[in-house]
Subunit: 115 residues, 2 copies
DNA sequence: TTAATATGCAACCCGGAGGTTGCCTAAATG
DNA sequence: CATTTAGGCAACCTCCGGGTTGCATATTAA
């Protein structure tokens, strides 16, 4: 087994549910959509245009922060949030493995039928 | 914009949170792990080896079914659950777009700095 | 210094998610 | 037919997620 493949299965074993759970909310997905465009935003800026309270947005940001999807830096009186690509990337690889397993299962089934 | 890219952004707009939420549970991820190996399983079989009740497992399966990750076929007195790769695949593409947006933002920043 | 702005913290509310138990029905098995 | 096995349905419980309001604090602006 190659090193690359081994690290993939290690990533498979690590608990993924929290990241998925953090992604499982439309408000948080729209926050990610804004932040992954590159520019950091303050809480007030992220609250603008939303029907939710600043505190609600803050809670969502903390959820994203708790799984590493965003991180915050404090500048003056405001805290700026910035996207971090690593967790999303690892999650994408995880889904890759699921699809890959399924495809391999289909291949085995196909070659079995052909025999 | 190519047709392919247009359909990608359409997939981006469709609500993704329910699928992520369905994936946001370790029990359901382990069910997926078993089912994406190719073979269909009955509820009793999926309950075996788990510390949870059959009804708890059933509820989790219904959650996965509600977002299309699995589907059930009835055979005799048992209902067999089988993995369906489409939602996972679309979710993977969604995460691709997020990563892609981030990478493009980095590229723009880099070329801006270089100017 | 005073006022406005940005945020943090805590209490509270409500609904739903995850889990269990109990009972009931349908199918396979003897 | 009697029994076992697979599953559906419903009630119930507990806890937490999402949201709000109210107030306190720190920084910036006038």
């Amino acid at each position: 087994m190659s090193r690359k493949h081994r690290s993939s299965t290690a990533a498979l074993r690590r608990p993924r549910a929290p990241v998925f759970a953090a992604l499982g909310d439309e408000v948080r997905l729209s926050l990610i959509a804004k932040l992954c465009a590159g520019q950091p935003y303050s809480i007030s800026q992220l609250t603008e245009g939303s029907r939710l309270t600043r505190q609600a947005i803050t809670k969502h940001l903390r959820v994203l922060e708790s799984v590493g999807i965003v991180h915050s830096v404090h500048r003056g009186r405001e805290s700026l949030f910035e996207f971090d690509p690593k967790p999303v990337e690892e999650t994408r690889k995880y889904l890759d493995l699921v699809s890959e397993q399924w495809d391999q299962a289909l291949s085995r089934l196909k070659s079995f039928v052909e025999d």
